[in-house]
Symmetry: C3
Subunit: 291 residues, 3 copies
């Protein structure tokens, strides 16, 4: 008998489920995408039951769940609830990919790109917007790789909270909170850094050009802001390994092709087992095996 | 020219249309499932018109309607409204399958399983939870088969109302209302019964073990409750013809494979004509021809 | 590498996206239809971004947008907003088809049918219900073809507003507003007309038989009202070139097969480029090349 149709159940916390995620899923090989908007921890149980009670354990790798939506925290809460309704003890589970607002694939792509240019086990990095959903993930991956990471935020206490959380997740993590509230803070935050990744809110210049010109150790700049102006002044949207003033630069679109490759690979991987959960660290592992 | 795509239009009365029904539809051969949630008699007319006005009568067997949702009565009301908007006099109709909350396929499966063990034209049965949506359907099928059926309910007058309705639908039906409000009622309700089917609300033990031990005629126990504890104490979820104390037992999962087979067969049958309506009795006829 | 899946993103302004449009899209060759209901100018931006940011410019002709819904003005507003979010300067756009309530394909079909019987560059026409969404489109196409068009409405000033708008869109348009508020107006409105197209609200008889019997020039009657009674008394739903009292007649269903052919052709055309916009005039151009 032919293999069962590959079905991806898209659970989106926004009212209208993401077109982006649906099209990428189709292009990654999902044969049917069942899209749901407005999904919450309160209404998700029957959707999960529909996934696990329709096919035998031997076929459940042909059904999978994608969790998305523009609100990253809502996506995380949904993942946690979805897992409660799986019954792995009876073989009744499906694989899950978490990528709300593209946060996981974007963070993994940024760090993957950085790893092509620097030895991350020794790199000294600064993550601007380090307390946002993408920034926190970037910090975690960089810390896990072994280097030293400064977490920049306009509110020092928020950066410190992130550092504390990362230390709990990554034993021995070399993380340090730095304030980037004003231009006066920048030189100290940048001092000795080889890598800066900007993952802040759109429309905010986090690193003006005249300040970074004084940072002698800088080798690599990655700006994840898709809407001009760039968070790192002087980096362009399409930069993809572009050398500017001797520094390698990547803009959001330059990282985009790596992000897309990671996203599609992760969707395809969902259909190889019925027990995998792809959150930031698992996604980064996939990214490491690309190219 | 190639045959038209097999399209199933899923009309669900719940806000989020059932994942279960979508996946089963795909596995049963529907090539595209068009899923709608929050469907009511008030908003369904254009959906039905979209079904019948898009393809010529010679192709309308490639479009079909599935009516589902967790509220069985809402599904029945929707079926009734949908039929009003078909135009069979012009050849403009599509086939319809009604299975809200799986009530029809579950009831048909339970009775189909019973028919493998007992001659239903002579069997003496008791249906616990006999006034609920699944229970009423089980009673109707058993009565139609010709045996004698006791309809158990904690409220005798509700059981009597069901009996009256069944007698109107099935001329000469041998049905009898019995109270099962307290443990004291059980011996009389069970007396002489060969078959007990429990179709009550989840989490309620309808038949404690110490009571049924005294029922000498008992040959077959079928429990349709998918969430432990079982409605019939001592029957296990996975029981599938399991002999316990000399009695053949089926739990909800044991009936499940028959239910799934019936559900898929019914979906596949939708695409063989453009005029069929599959409600409980038509579904049971399909079930009789399985295996 | 195989070509990408043909994806049509259906943006519908009604709460439940049209079944009609989905089925026609599938039959026209769209391999996946991503359906959205309740789409407004306020929530559409991320849906458009999902279309243009998922595939490279060389593959964007395999993604397209369909704008529908029962409210024609809402559809027009949505088209205008959707276009703002395309980025054609970067090659990032997809083709769009506008057909809310079938207004564009219906109007194009009516005029296409008329062109088979009359030389529209010289025809003298009357459009009843000429200020409604379908009527206005019919007037525009007839005026563009070069003939003389009377725009009938029960409110003369509304007809005059339509004429003014058409003159702005079609330089040198031969259009004239006429009142059809009462039976007394009819002879003057009909005088010398060879073609009458009725595009009014359902259930309203716009042209009683006893009045049109006196119109000697009449050669062709097209009634677009799908629900009896016909807007032009004496024309039947299924009329398709039927001769009645020496006049060629078409009813709504008689025009329907041409409308369906136009609709499917337009959907298929979407996947031939990533920059086309099919509104009424482009759709009529397609219609002219059919048969």
């Amino acid at each position: 008998m032919a293999e069962k149709t590959k079905i991806l159940v898209q659970l989106d916390t926004d009212a209208l489920p993401s077109v982006f995620d649906r099209i990428v899923a189709i292009d990654a090989g999902a044969e049917q995408v069942l899209s749901y908007g407005g999904v919450t921890p309160q209404n998700v149980a029957p959707l999960v039951h529909g996934c696990i009670f329709t096919r035998g354990p031997q076929d459940l790798h042909r059904t999978a769940i994608f969790i998305g939506g523009s609100d990253v925290q809502a996506g995380e809460a949904l993942l946690s609830e979805v897992r409660k309704h799986l019954l792995p003890q009876y073989g009744l589970s499906v694989s899950i990919l978490l990528d709300p607002n593209g946060a996981n694939t974007t963070a993994a792509a940024a760090v993957r790109v950085a790893a092509r240019h620097l030895d991350l086990s020794r790199a000294r990095s600064l993550v601007l917007g380090g307390t946002g959903p993408v920034g926190q993930r970037v910090v975690r991956l960089l810390a896990r790789a072994g280097g030293h990471v400064r977490v920049g935020s306009r509110q020092l206490e928020r950066a410190e909270a992130v550092c504390q959380r990362i230390r709990a997740q990554v034993p021995g993590a070399g993380v340090e909170a730095v304030s980037v509230a004003s231009a006066a803070d920048a030189p100290a935050a940048l001092d000795g850094r080889q890598l800066v990744i900007a993952a802040g809110a759109p429309g905010v210049v986090l690193l003006p050009k005249k300040i970074r010109d004084k940072a002698n150790a800088l080798k690599l700049l990655i700006d994840l802001n898709g809407v001009p102006p760039a968070g790192i002044e002087g980096v362009e949207l399409h930069d993809k390994g572009t050398i500017r003033d001797g520094i390698v630069c990547y803009g959001a679109l330059g990282v985009g092709s790596t992000k897309m490759k990671i996203h599609k690979t992760a969707v395809a991987k969902l259909f190889e087992s019925h027990t995998a959960v792809f959150d930031i660290e698992e996604i980064y592992q996939l990214a490491l095996h690309l190219d």
